[in-house]
Structure formats: C-alpha cells, structure tokens
C-alpha cells in the first residue's frame, strides 16, 4: 500500500493541469516579449493565468506577479519593502517565531546585511500570534509586518483579517506568507486588508518552479530579480509560460472544489486525530483544533520516541510522513516552530506530521490507525526516556 501523507511538502501535478501546460513547451514556445504574432499566444496564456489566480483571491489581475517560487515571493516582499523603506528612514520588520525559513532566513539576512531591526513575535501553546502583540511591537520605524497565514508544521491559522485591519489602520504594509493556506482556505485579499501575499503552485497540484506575489495597487517594493522588463518591469526573467499556465489552471480547479475539499479533509483529519488520541497513550496533538487548523494537518508528539525512527518504520509500511525532529534535517536543532509552541526538546524531537490531500482516502486513515500504535509502542519499549516518563507518572 502506498500512502502519501506529506501533501504539505508537495503535491502531484494534476492531470488536468499537466494537460493545460503541455502546449506551452514545444508548440507555443514563443517568447512573450517578442513582437510577432506567434508570441501573442504566450502572452495571452500568461494573462489568462494571471486572471485565474487573481479571481481566486478576489484580487485585480494587475496585482498578481509571477515568480519562480513561494520562497522568491517571500524574499521579494521582505527585501524589496525594507530596502525601499530605508529611504524613508524606516528599518523595522515585525514577523513571528514560527515563520517558514523563507521568511526567517530572509529576516536574518536583512538584519545582518542591512542592519534591519527584526521583532520576532512569540506564539501561544497552540501557535497563535496575538493581535495586541503585533500592535505593541509597532513603532514609527516599522516598515513591514509579515505574519504567515497558516503554519506549515502544525497547521495553526493566524488571525490574518484582524492583523490586516490593524496594519491598514496604522498605515503599515502587511505581508502574509500564504504558501500553505492558499491551498486550503478561502482568501479574500480585499476583505482581509492584505497588502502582499506569497503563494506557490506545487502545494496546490500545480507544477514546481512557479509562485506568485500579490501586490496591492500602490505597493511597490524594490525589484528583487533585476533584468528585462517582464511582469511590467518588476520581475525580470523570461516567463515560465507552461508553469504559469499550470499555476492558473491549478488555482481555478482548487477554487472550484475548495469548499467540498475543506469538509472532506477536515472530517478525515479529525478522524485521524481522534483515532490516534484513542489508540496511543500519552500522545500530544500539536497546534490548534477545529476550524483554526488547516484541514489537512495532523501533528503529534509521542513522548519517548524520536521522529525519524517513526518515519522509517512508517516508510517500511508504505506510509510517507514528516517530522520536526532534528535527526531528519541537516542541523541538530529540532523544529523552531514546536519549540516556539513551548514544547520541550525531547517532545519536539518526537513529532510526527501527516498532511492529507487528494491522494488520501478513508481506507488510508484506517490503515494508519492500524499500524501506528504498534510502531510507537515498539519504539517506546526500547527507549530509556519512555521508561523514565512512566516512572514519573507512577505507571511503572
């Protein structure tokens, strides 16, 4: 049995999306910047995709700029905004401790190279940023607030509309990394007072190598990729036409089925969560519950076991999942997100994330609930920490 439960890492390009892309490799290959009529097909394809993406967000078509990835969109929003604000004497960035590295490492770079002051807002034990913390952090030097729409590790959905309203009232640009959220939630950039928003196609059954930055009219961060006059002179590089076409198609399909998917995924998510809680003693759910959690995210810590061992045991059973353990990464620190939620190191090392999606069906949920309890208990049996933990609880 092949059970892919890592949809947050990436998703397969859907057949409909691939079909829409195919004519733009060998057939309609014209450079959109060229003058001759043949290239009009490429230009038209890009503009159609721009409208598809814009419609899904309730944005204007002219407010969507295609990039090479969600990470590039994040880099552009942060670097471009802070560089521009420097002229006005503003050098303060507000973000959070649980952002994706695309934001965190960009913020660190801006601090190191540009001398930008960065405030990293804390989160509560479920991963929520407090709107009043954002308000209190704002100074007359604040150039940008960047808070992720929903967290990729634990699925917590931040109070984006409230933060948007606050920033609009204070006249401070507000950026949100919606790379995960855009694949699952209804987003209305106008109603939510969002000024900038980053997205990525491969998280929503589109191709890898294409993302977008929404820039509300009037938002003009400095350019990030310099060169030709593509994207109205704001993002150089010959357009990834097939990728952009795929992104537009993926977004339109996503929007058409979003409400149904939200219901189906939420039900499966809650079945898996309650099943794990019922079958595995001392399992801790990381993140929020109900509609404040991404509909596809399940993240647990199992005291006494380390995440990588669980991943390998699950892999042997055909299940692909993910962990916040250091042992699965190139560094020795466990997930910064789980630590920010207040988890002890050993609990952060013992985390396991399942992210469901279009490849998931009900029988797979049952299968995971079938095999996981035994895997956890076998590894716990060989762990000195589990023994200590049971003793501390008076259970041994």
């Amino acid at each position: 049995m092949f059970v892919y439960m890592d949809h947050t890492a990436t998703t397969p390009t859907s057949p409909e999306v691939l079909n829409a892309m195919m004519p733009y490799f060998s057939e309609n290959f014209g450079n959109p910047s060229s003058v001759y009529s043949f290239s009009r097909k490429s230009r038209a394809a890009i503009e159609k995709a721009r409208a598809q993406v814009a419609n899904a967000l309730n944005a204007d078509t002219s407010e969507i700029y295609f990039t090479g990835s969600g990470t590039e969109a994040d880099n552009w929003a942060l670097k471009g905004t802070l560089e521009k604000a420097k002229i006005a004497g503003k050098n303060h960035l507000i973000t959070t401790k649980i952002e994706h590295h695309a934001i965190l490492h960009t913020a660190e770079y801006l601090h190191k190279v540009e001398g930008v002051d960065v405030t990293y807002l804390p989160v509560d034990s479920e991963g929520f940023v407090k709107v009043e913390d954002v308000e209190n952090a704002i100074t007359d030097k604040t150039a940008l607030v960047s808070v992720m729409f929903a967290n990729n590790e634990v699925g917590t959905i931040e109070p984006i509309a409230e933060i948007g309203a606050l920033c609009r009232a204070k006249k401070i640009p507000f950026h949100t990394d919606a790379v995960q959220a855009a694949a699952h939630l209804n987003i209305d950039v106008k109603a939510m007072n969002i000024d900038m928003l980053s997205m990525s196609a491969h998280k929503m059954y589109g191709p890898k190598g294409v993302g977008a930055l929404f820039l509300r009219k009037g938002m003009r961060p400095e350019n990030f990729v310099h060169g030709g006059a593509q994207e109205k002179g704001h993002r150089a590089s010959t357009e990834n036409i097939a990728g952009i076409v795929g992104f537009g198609e993926a977004m339109e399909i996503l929007k058409s089925r979003l409400d149904d998917d939200l219901k189906i995924n939420s039900a499966r998510r809650d079945k898996l969560i309650s099943g794990i809680l019922a079958k595995i003693p001392h399992a801790k759910l990381n993140g929020a519950t109900g509609d404040k959690r991404l509909p596809n995210n399940i993240n647990f810590s199992f005291i006494g076991v380390e995440g990588e061992t669980l991943l390998l045991d699950l892999d042997a059973k055909g299940i692909s999942a993910s962990t916040g353990s250091a042992c699965s990464s190139e560094s020795l620190d466990p997930s910064h997100v789980l630590l920010a939620l207040g988890l002890k190191h050993e609990m952060a090392h013992g985390s396991l994330r399942f992210t469901i999606g279009r490849l998931t069906d009900d029988s797979q949920i049952d299968y995971v609930l079938d095999v996981l309890p035994e895997i956890v208990s076998r590894r716990r049996e060989m762990s000195p920490l589990w023994e200590d933990y049971l003793k501390s609880k008076g259970e041994k």
């Binding site: 990588e308 991943l311 390998l312 042992c327 020795l332 190191h345 050993e346 060989m382 023994e387």
Partner: protein, 138 residues
C-alpha cells in the same frame, strides 16, 4: 531529507539486537541527553572471574543511526573482556555498520561513551581504578 543509510544500519534499526534491560546489572552506563535528541543506556553482566562480558542490553532514544549504533556496539562487545570492550572505538562501530552519514557520526560516539560509562561503573563497584574518559563535544 535524505535517508541514505547502509543496509546494515537499516537491518540493525529494524531488528535491533540486545534490546532491553538486565536485572541487577554489574554495570550501567548512559550517554547523550534528550535535548540533543539522543540518549543511550547500556547494561552489562560481567563474569567476575574471567572479566568477560556475558550479556549486554541497551535502551536508546534517538534516530535510526543511534539505535543501529547501540545494537552494533552491543554485538561487538558481547563475549569480550572488559579490557577488550574498552578499546572499542566509535569508528569501529561506524565501520561495522558500513558507515554512517557524516551528520550521524555522533551516534557512534554516543555508543562508545555509554560503554565506557558502563565499564567504569563496573570497575567502581569492583574496586578497580576508574579510567578517565574524554568527552566528545555534542
């Protein structure tokens, strides 16, 4: 995330040898700490006359390479004298596993340290001189 472990590592991870505890052990040693994500505990049963390690068990919290290193290290010292066991190096453990990814080498160091701790525990209980150990940086 690349999981480029050797088949030997995977074998010792999936079916670890000598897992468990020894009741009334002659020596117990522990290395690592939960903060780093690895903790290893080694139990020894030593024949007082021959100084041969007759049984050894381990319990480990950690990643696959930590569990495989514990398993392999216990196999390598079982049946050896306490002097021979002392000379087991982390490099020998890693080599016996057909290598570990560079970032995971500290797992084999942990095995060497836990065995040294257990052997010194035995020596202390039997009035023998404790051998000073150099602790590797985590």
């Amino acid at each position: 995330m690349a999981l480029d472990y050797s088949q030997k590592v995977m074998d010792h991870f999936i079916n670890p040898r000598n897992v468990g505890e020894i009741q009334n052990p002659d020596g117990v040693g522990e290395a690592g700490n939960p903060k780093c994500g690895d903790i290893m505990k080694i139990y020894l049963k030593v024949n007082d006359d021959t100084k041969i390690i007759e049984d050894v068990k381990f319990k480990t919290f950690g990643c696959a390479s930590a569990i495989a290193s514990s398993s392999m290290a216990t196999e390598l010292i079982k049946g050896k004298t306490i002097e021979e066991a002392w000379d087991l190096t982390n490099a020998a453990v890693a080599e016996a596993l057909d290598g570990l990814p560079p970032i995971k080498m500290h797992c084999s160091v942990l095995a060497e340290e836990a065995i040294h701790e257990a052997l010194n525990d035995y020596r202390k209980k039997h009035g023998m001189k404790i051998i000073p150990v150099e602790h590797h940086e985590e």
